[in-house]
């Protein structure tokens, strides 16, 4: 968490005005309470220390609520980062007409030939057009299970490519050192010449996932062989991890993927880089309206944005759960603060006799609950931030499209800000009513 705080990026504040605005307001309130209130802070701190058992339990409750919320938000944040990192600026993805996803798209070979001649495709330093012809299939892979157990399988996303190095360039990916692309044939023989292996390159996420089947649960490495769809596949290369959906894919030669999985006569998608990045949306729109061939085209960024439905659903669910937990927490804080006040009724009377105003009493008790919330919130964020970098298998998807992905929990500064904001809100609302009650107590009644 300290690392996150040290890397705090002020430029992101305008993107989340409500979050940072509320947090700033509440932190300012804590400061105001500390410096404006006339009742010494040490009075409140000592009271918290005297009731250390109750204080500890209340702080622990805050830690649990905020820690849990941090973990949940880090998961969604990782999911958003995954879809956000997957689209390259200027890339346009083309599907067959009516299809919103690679899984349903069937582009005829002739349509793709026409697309390759589209005006406005960027070229690389060697003068080659930055375009990628791709076949995408989901393959069932049997997972080894103990004898007598129900059979298990996983879905593996396999992408077949005509020109893998060019595709990697289009998607902004590179091979890790020690890796190579698959050969022109896409196959190789074992050293004893007994078996033909299908060559593939894969992302680090799926390499880790497939490695789970082995006794040591180590990720697959270059040179290793695994079984999928009744064939042996050899890993010839690993892609660098960009935190994109491609980390969860296996790449192989298009002809091999097409023939084996019923896509020999069509492509799933055609991805191209617009020569003028700013013109990409217009180019996509032009392709969509083409009268020669019916297509569906969109910028790659908007395609991956459409896969954010799952994260939006989860975020909503988390907000609802956090709301209920926060309400529960507020009642807990109220209980503690009402008890603190009832135990210190005479103190309140003495403070008033000494000349402290009703407002001073209000600020003093409010500060006490805010201190509890701040300490609990910070510890909760600290605990929750331990999940930063955890990997988890999940799904991202939108209308009619889903992808199985391996994502990383991301404890962003917004996640921490959200956790702290929740904690301070609980402290404020939970402490306000008891503090108001303390404020309106009459001196005579309190000292009786």
């Amino acid at each position: 968490m300290l690392a996150r705080i040290s890397r705090f990026d002020l430029s992101r504040i305008p993107q989340y005005p409500v979050l940072y605005g509320l947090l700033a307001a509440l932190l300012a309130l804590v400061l105001i309470l500390l410096f404006v209130g006339r009742v010494p802070v040490s009075y409140n701190v000592r009271n918290l220390v005297v009731r250390w058992w109750i204080t500890t339990m209340m702080v622990l409750a805050f830690v649990l609520v905020v820690g849990l919320m941090t973990v949940m938000l880090a998961f969604v944040s990782g999911m958003d980062a995954l879809t956000g990192n997957s689209g390259q600026p200027g890339n346009i993805i083309v599907f067959s007409s009516g299809a919103n996803d690679e899984g349903f798209s069937n582009l005829a070979l002739s349509d793709v030939s026409n697309l390759e001649r589209t005006q406005g495709i960027a070229v690389d330093e060697a003068g080659q057009r930055l375009a990628s012809k791709e076949v995408y299939v989901i393959v069932n892979q049997d997972i080894p299970v103990p004898k007598g157990s129900p059979s298990r399988r996983r879905f593996v996303q396999v992408r077949g490519l005509e020109d893998a190095p060019m595709s990697a360039k289009v998607h902004g990916l590179e091979l890790l050192p020690g890796s190579q692309w698959f050969s022109e044939a896409g196959v190789e023989q074992t050293s004893d010449g007994q078996q033909v292996l299908l060559q593939c390159v894969m992302g680090k996420g799926i390499a880790g996932e497939l490695g789970l089947d082995r006794p040591g649960r180590q990720p697959l490495a270059v040179g290793e062989v695994f079984r999928m769809a009744d064939r042996e596949w050899k890993v010839v290369g690993l892609l660098n991890s960009t935190g994109s959906t491609y980390d969860s894919e296996v790449w192989a030669k298009r002809q091999i993927v097409g023939e084996r999985f019923g896509k020999e006569a069509s492509y799933s998608s055609f991805v191209m880089r617009a020569s003028d990045i700013k013109q990409a949306p217009q180019l996509a729109e032009t392709l969509k309206k083409s009268k020669e061939v019916a297509l569906n085209a969109m910028t790659e960024e908007s395609y991956f944005e459409s896969l954010s439905d799952t994260s939006r659903t989860l975020l909503l669910a988390i907000r609802i759960v956090a709301g209920f937990m926060a309400l529960g927490g507020i009642f807990g804080v109220m209980n503690t603060m009402f008890a603190a006040i009832s135990q210190r009724i005479k103190d309140i009377g003495v403070l008033r006799v000494l000349g402290y105003s009703r407002t001073d009493v209000l600020l003093s008790f409010l500060m006490e609950s805010m201190i509890l919330a701040l300490v609990g919130g910070l510890l909760g964020c600290l605990l929750g931030s331990l999940c930063d970098g955890w990997t988890a298998k999940s799904t991202v998807g939108g209308q009619g499209a889903t992808k199985t992905v391996v994502l990383q929990f991301l404890v962003s500064q917004e996640v921490l800000a959200g956790g702290l904001l929740l904690s301070l809100l609980m402290g404020l609302v939970g402490g306000l009513f008891p503090a108001v009650r303390a404020m309106w107590m009459r001196i005579l009644e309190t000292l009786r």
């Binding site: 069932n140 769809a229 759960v321 999940s394």
Partner: protein
Amino acid sequence: MFQFFTLMLKNLRRNILRTSLTALCSMLLVLVVTGVWSVLDFIDRQTEEKANDFKVLVTEKNKAPSRLPRAYVSSLREGAARGPDDVKPEDYMTWAFYGGTLDPNKMTRENFLFLIACEPEKAPTMMDELDQLNAADTARLQDAIAKMKKQANAVIIGPEQLKLMNKKVGERFTVNGLIFKDLNLEFEIVDTFPDAAQRYGQTSLMNLDYLLQGIDEYEAKTKKKIANGADPIAFVMLKVKNKEDYEKLSAQIVNSPLYNSPAVRCESAGSAVSTFLESWQTIFWGMRWLLAPAILGTLSLVIAVAISISVRERRKEIAVMKVLGFTPGHVLTMVLGEALLIGLISGLLSAGGTYLLVNKVLGGIPFPIAWFQRFFIPTNALWWGVAIGAGTSVLGSFLPAWNARGVRVADVFSKVA
């Protein structure tokens, strides 16, 4: 005993505010745990292997989504049985999927329709929960199925889907095919699923024959093959008596020379559902082992705080009780009992309220996971609520109750003196 119970009630009534706040907190947190457990319970039930009435799915072995040629169907319905000793399925149902948009110029969610193409007469026996409808709903469903048998383009659409499409029973509409591109079919809505079949709120059924006929007619008319038209079947579902029959049937089908290209896979319905939910496992794991325990922990802490405060305020009173002859055990029981009362009552009220609110008012928890759209609170949740309330209150109050048990009369009165 009754007097002891009355004493506990009186103690709770003495500070109505504290009791109410603790109860409210319990109710809110029990509500969340009940919701979470309801989702997990439903998922667990979908993926568990049944001992009897085993449902088996025959799908394409190596690829998802599965696509099987229609030539496979007739022999698969017989379980590929060839000899007298071979296992034959008790029942079958063929599934294909037809999806498209009601308006090709406006591809929005409300215009998108996904239909299960099947033998409609198999729905009541092969689709989960449709065999548990009451007599009136069963009669209504049978009536709708009879209409589908008479009229090829008839469809049954779930009430939620119907509302989303802004259509009514009796209306006709055309779907512009996307899975089978350019295959546009016209339909007439003959009924909806009964409200009691809550999980089918967004499900739509059409005749498989109508889809296959549509493919044939399109190909004959245009003289070109339709995308996915050669292998339009998604899977064949078979029902066998028990696991033993499932294993025999599975071997029969997998080893049959009839299914080589593509090869097929035979798995129990529970196992197939597990596979589709595999990518949600982290979320389910988090809900089961992080979210629910953290909420239970929070609830225990809040109760512990409330009871600790209560004990702290009543030290003198506890000392007096001891002087009057109450044993430490009595004191421990009294404090635990007070917490238990709050926990039990708030747990029951919360679970009952959640059950009514979610099932009767909200029409389920809208949490789309895979193909499940909404989750309902099971009747079991009523005892979960009581158990959560009781468990967390006992757990949270044990330490304060133990402290109350240990209050020493001499200590208390020496300070008073």
